[in-house]
Structure formats: C-alpha cells, structure tokens
C-alpha cells in the first residue's frame, strides 16, 4: 500500500510548479474522456498495486498520494489539489484505466429520473439518510 510518506519526496516542489502549468497541458490537451461525465461525488480508491507511481506526472502522483489512505471524491481531489474539475476527471479516468485506482460510482437514489431506478432501494437508502441526519 502506498502511503503519503513514500510518495511525498519532493512532491511539494513539484506540486507548486504544477500549479503554474496551464490546466489542459497536464491532460495532454484532451478535454473529454469516456468517463469525463463522472459525478462530482464519485469516490476513488487507490489500488494496492499502485505502490510504484514513479514515471507518472506530478499531478497524477498528487492524486494517488491524496487518495492513498482513504476514499476521496472527485470534488475533494479538485478542491484540495486546486485543479479544475474537468482536469481531475480526465486524470482520474486515466489512472483508473492504467490500474492505479478504482472508481466507485453509487447513485442509488434516483427520485426524479425515470430510468433504471429501483424505488425500494432508493427508499431504504433514504430511510438510512433520514435516520442518520435525525441522530446528528
């Protein structure tokens, strides 16, 4: 399992430089990918095999490092690394394709869109949400 420490050598310096690069330079000029539609709350999980991130550009290593010890959403990656959402979506799709991380999309609640919904499942999730909020 990769952890923050093992991947943080000179990461700060690289990260600082990365912030001065125009966003789409880090995606190789691409503005779309097959998964560029990933919801903002999509969680990523770094795979145990992703220990060796040498050779990856600093932005991708920063993502792997941020997600190393916990599930983290695309929105959080974007906010914490100060990278635009569109860029983060593409980098995460790349990392998933190359086997560094898994993408967890869960949209069990579908109140307003007619397709593919399962009312019983949505209701049971909402029930848990309701109980959870009430107990806060």
């Amino acid at each position: 399992m990769m952890n923050r420490r093992s991947s943080s050598h000179s990461m700060d310096g690289e990260h600082f430089e990365a912030a001065t690069v125009r966003p789409y330079a880090v995606t190789g000029g691409r503005v779309r990918s097959a998964t560029s539609n990933l919801p903002l709350e999509t969680l990523i999980e770094v795979l145990p095999g992703a220990v060796d991130s040498r050779g990856l550009p600093p932005e991708k290593r920063a993502i792997l490092s941020h997600a190393a010890s916990t599930y983290v959403s695309i929105a959080e990656v974007s906010a914490l690394l100060r990278m635009p959402l569109g860029v983060v979506r593409i980098l995460i799709a790349d990392l998933a394709e190359d086997g560094y991380l898994t993408i967890h999309t869960s949209t069990p609640v579908n109140v307003h869109t007619g397709h593919g919904q399962n009312p019983a499942l949505s209701l049971s999730v909402l029930e848990s949400v309701l109980n959870g909020i009430s107990a806060l």
Binding site: M1, M2, N3, R4, R5, S6, P23, P39, L40, E41, T42, L43, E45, P48, V51, A68, S69, T70, Y71, S73, A75, E76, S78, A79, L80, R82, P84, L85, G86, V87, H104, S106, T107, P108, V109, N110, V111, H112, T113, P119, S122, L123, V125, L126, E127, S128, V129, L130, N131, G132, I133, S134, A135, L136
Partner: protein, 203 residues
C-alpha cells in the same frame, strides 16, 4: 466510519479500511448570490466547506470594433462550495452549493444528477433571486424544499405570503431556517429527505 492513515511502514497492508466503498448520496443547496449557501453547508458539514472550480469555455460570436466578425472563446471559472457528512452505516452525504449566477444554470444538470433533491434558500429581501432555482427544480420534477433564511433570527414574512409570492405549489414544504444554525439546517435536510421519500412512494 473513520480510519486513519497507516502510521507504520508502507508494507503494513491490512489498514482498517471498511469493507466496500461508502454509499454516497448528495443534496444540492441552491439560491441566489450571498443567500447563505456556504454558511448553511458549513453549519453541519464534518469538513470545512471546500471549494472546487470548473473552467467553462464560453463561445461568443460578434462584430469587433474594426468591423470584422470575431469568433472567440473565453474561459470563465465557476466555483462551487461543498461539504460532507458521514452518517452511520457507511453513508456519506455530500452537500453541494450551486454556482450563484443564472448563466451557469446548465452546470446544475451535472450537479443534480443522482441527487436526493435540493434545499432552495430564500432571502425575502431579494425574493427574485431564487426564481431560477425554483423554476429549475420544479420543471424537472426534482424534490425540493424552500428554506426562508431568517437573518438575525427574525422572520419578516409569513411563510404563506412567501409561498404565494413565489408561486410554490402546496405540496412543496416550506420552512424557516437559519443558515448559521446546525439545528435549523438539520431540520431543512430532514424535510427534504422526507419529501423525496413521499415523492418516490407516490410514483
């Protein structure tokens, strides 16, 4: 469910990761500029509200000063604030604030996809600011509740008067709220989830 980064060496494999990824749900917080969306999110979020940015390319065609036709793209940055609440049963609830300006309404489609619904915050001094939000959720059949934000804890208008002014249908819950108050925010979220459940049952 909280788990810490492993403090041991990298080889320590079995970190206390929960079995399976958390179930993620989200609620959208909408309303006009400076109505208190971020305060609302911050009053209940486990994390300090974070800010994410999306770069938007706007395409405009026009006639420039020299009389030539210009065809240009400009990039605008749209910011969204969000927070997160961890609920029992490995449930993560995200609260996303909508970008304030009307001209970014198209971005809301991305935001509301898969959401439980929306809390529309209203400032009765600037009622018209929430029109786009109300229109948006109503026209798409997305469950929403209207929270009349009471600045300084003072309710200036009766809820029924606000309902009439906004033409909110009778089945849409309306309540007073105070974006700074965790208890009030909680009540708004509860009202929304209950409303969403009713909408599913009625379908």
């Amino acid at each position: 469910m909280v788990f810490q980064p492993s403090s041991g060496p990298a080889e320590a494999t079995a970190v206390s990761k929960p079995v399976g990824a958390p179930t993620v749900v989200k609620i959208v917080v909408a309303g006009g500029f400076a109505v208190g969306k971020t305060t609302f999110i911050g009053s209940i979020s486990d994390i300090e509200p974070l800010n994410t940015e999306a770069a938007m390319t706007e395409h405009s065609v026009g006639v420039d000063d020299a009389g030539g036709v210009s065809d240009r793209k400009t990039t605008t940055t749209v910011a969204m604030d969000f927070g997160r609440i961890e609920l029992p049963g490995s449930l993560w609830l995200y609260l996303f604030g909508t970008p304030g300006q009307d001209r970014f309404l198209f971005m809301w489609d991305d935001l509301v996809r898969g959401a439980i619904g929306a809390v529309v915050l209203v400032d009765t001094d600037r009622l018209e600011q929430c029109f786009p939000a109300v229109d948006y959720f109503e026209s798409r059949g997305i469950p929403f509740v209207v929270g009349v934000n009471c600045f300084d804890g003072v309710a200036k208008h009766r809820l029924e008067d606000v309902r009439e002014a906004l033409q909110i249908p009778a089945h849409v819950p309306m309540l007073y709220t105070d974006a700074r108050s965790r208890a009030a925010t909680k009540q708004s979220l509860i009202a929304l989830v209950q409303h969403a459940m009713q909408q599913i049952r009625a379908a």
